[in-house]
Subunit: 450 residues, 2 copies
């Protein structure tokens, strides 16, 4: 018998994975039953479900059910300052948004006070003041970025941990329906890009939109009155004012302060054969790659695969899970942070835009050799850290190819012999021919080698 | 009135800095009075005191007292595998080792249970089971790498924190005196370098040496019997066996397992105007640059300077201290980790050794323009992060100089015009002429610009 305390989402999905394998599963949630509670506003960024997440749901037969409850988003809609809207499609495959998940056996109103790795004993507090003790064979901590389970990890030696807050905060504002219908086109992720800050809007099932404003904390703090809110929106998001409503805007802005966003990495994910961290408890990411929930769902697939490989022997499964999964989760945390930092710095650089065009052109020419990073991350199950390695490799090859072409052009067509193509031997396989091909472009002698 | 709970070393020094400025200072230490306690073996790496630390001691008139209690070490002594000893001097200035520090007003046996940022109230536990509550205007947390004060920081939003353990552990072994005298020459840091692991020995006042063995944890764990310890020493440190003693070695090795080493960085160092972290509580570093204690002592100087600048107004002093000090402490933590990681990888590289020679030669030619990193860190009070910036700059300039020289040689003396010396305009001042000088070496036209 095995008890698994965890919260909603990754926890609920994990419960299905374990239950399907014949384990007895018990879930513990500190809050009251959220199915009966009022909707908590302003605290949760809507979640994007893409390929990895869907694969996980598929394995427990929930894909169709969840996807049907979400609102499909196949395009982004860019709102420019003058109110013009321009759709930009996402690509071949679809993305969908989902908010609620079914789950199997849940104990609500159980707040974890402490637990012991030696015994697997957990102590919970109930809202009536009572305490409850429960022993588990395996404790799966899916209790979010501020995990109570993880506190025990921090008390032990040789546990690597980092938490990094970004200078931006976020704030959620609600855009109500107009005449019972969505105020804007629903099947889009609406984006108002404004350099150092931006607003996005995602559709909900009740025909409202949740608008999320991302902005540096010091900008949030500059706005102190309702009139200043309106002035600010007038300057940057004038088309959103009538849709949200002047009065709502003036009050909603001050309901909660800007919320912090944190990136958390740690290693290892397990303590002996007793406890393992998954989801945001193991790897909270900033929400700029849309992979937070997908990475958490993929955790369940990977853990399930290792359970099968190692015959459910927790003492072997847990270290193996840490070994396999840590580099991938660290890679996606880094990518999300990279998108936050670098995209803002690069997005206006001519070289960056030129390189995007080159990448897309090469992907068109050689679809299996050059794959844009975003495609690998969002539409495949390529391991995150391999996607990053391959991205770096492609970058190097393409930059060198461009350099070589430029040099060849410069030398007026004279031959160029590259004796030791640097590093290539260490790099990844399928695209290895690529370099030779590029060399051959300017060196007919190399053709003999191909 | 102001109470400051903190532990030994940085805490004691800080107490002097505050006391000199007229604050009422109270120190709290969780252990019993260590002046009366037995020496705790095997848990403390000996501490190296260099320029920054001495400057801090000087400001409270303690330099001579402390230095006279330490044992000066002016050289390293390298023990090769065949037992040959080769001294390598440290440079112009002296370094000294010290172990004990006087302190002013101490409350021992006060273990911090909790504290509140709103009120400055701390709750301590005493060994007789009683509790004690104390209010302070300012709480200075100098309570080490595993700081109890810092726990409160971790519960707050927007506190960046990272702890990274390295794969090496350390173990301390004692080398007793022979006929009442040191078993090896005392005024040296003795080093047995052995690639992936090494042993060092530092002299103590009681004529013993403390030998510290640094080794990956999995190597420690491979040795499970007394005979295996002797075999291991026979293979790598044969000259140390008779000096430590066969029987002592067989038992001492198993007294404690290999001890972990952690690098800790965080930001900010303060909570409102109530609490500030200093020393290892703010920035534990791995012990491979000999700057851990010196950085902690320099914290006291920097805080003192800011107190003076801002008239002891804690609400202004604390944020300013975080702003000024965080980048420097992060730089020294990174440098210590760099020494751990990179030196082992580079130490046998021909380019690395060649560059060391070039650097030393350029320092000889232009002592105020090119200063080796080690010299800036150990023998000056150049801000750590500026030392790192300048080091990167020097590196770039020297590498480019070498590249230019090589290119010039290759082109058989033909002129080379560098139209846009890249990045130089953004770089640091005094050595700016350097680049022009190097260009001039191979481009007489540029001479007109100098």
């Amino acid at each position: 018998m095995s008890f698994l305390p965890f919260a909603i989402e990754v926890g609920a999905l994990n419960a299905c994975f374990f239950a399907e394998r014949g384990f007895n599963v018990e879930l513990f949630e500190s809050r009251e039953d959220i199915r009966r509670a009022e909707v908590v506003k302003g605290r949760s960024i809507n979640l994007a479900l893409s390929h990895r997440g869907r694969q996980a749901l598929k394995q427990v037969g929930m894909e169709d059910k969840i996807v049907s409850q979400g609102i499909p988003m196949n395009s982004r809609m860019i709102h420019s300052l003058n109110g013009k809207q321009s759709p930009i499609p996402y690509g071949k495959k679809g993305q969908v948004k989902a908010e609620t998940y079914p789950n199997t056996k849940l104990n609500f109103d159980h707040k974890l006070l402490d637990w012991r790795a030696e015994t697997g004993r957990m102590t919970f507090a109930r809202s009536d003041g009572s305490k409850e003790q429960i022993n588990a064979d395996l404790i799966v901590g899916c209790d979010g970025a501020f995990s109570a389970i993880r506190k025990q990890f921090l008390r032990r030696s040789r546990f690597d941990y980092s938490q990094t807050y970004i200078p931006h905060g976020y704030m959620e504002l609600t855009m109500p329906p107009i005449d019972g219908e969505f105020a804007m086109k629903p099947n889009y992720l609406h984006i108002w890009p404004r350099n150092t800050f931006m607003m996005i809007a995602l559709p909900n099932l009740d025909k409202t939109f949740t608008c999320t404003l991302f902005m540096p904390f010091d900008e949030f703090e500059k706005i102190t009155t309702g009139d200043e809110v309106i002035d600010f929106f007038q300057k940057y998001f004038p088309d959103a004012i009538p849709l949200i409503g002047v009065d709502a805007l003036k009050t909603d802005y001050f309901r909660l302060p800007g919320q912090a966003m944190v990136s958390i990495k740690c290693s290892p994910y397990h303590i002996e054969d007793k406890c393992v961290l998954m989801g945001d408890a193991a790897h909270a990411v900033v929400p700029f790659y849309g992979q937070g929930m997908n990475a958490g769902f993929e955790d369940c697939i990977v853990f399930g695969e290792i359970l099968d490989q190692l015959n459910n022997d927790f003492s072997a499964v847990l270290p193996e899970y840490s070994r396999v999964r840590v580099p991938d989760d660290h890679a996606i945390a880094d990518l999300a942070m990279y998108n936050y930092i670098e995209m803002r710095a690069h997005v206006n650089s001519k070289w960056f835009i030129f390189r995007k065009h080159v990448d897309n052109f090469l992907h068109f020419l050689m679809p299996s050799t050059i794959v844009p990073l975003y495609t690998m991350v969002t539409f495949t199950r390529t391991r995150y850290h391999e996607a990053v390695d391959r991205w770096h490799w492609q970058d190097k090859v393409i930059n060198r190819g461009l350099l070589l072409s430029a040099t060849a052009a410069l030398l007026g067509g004279s031959y160029l012999l590259i004796k030791n193509p640097p590093d290539i031997s260490k790099l990844i396989r399928p695209a290895e021919k690529m370099w030779d091909g590029l060399v051959a472009l300017c060196n007919p002698r190399a053709l003999a080698r191909i």
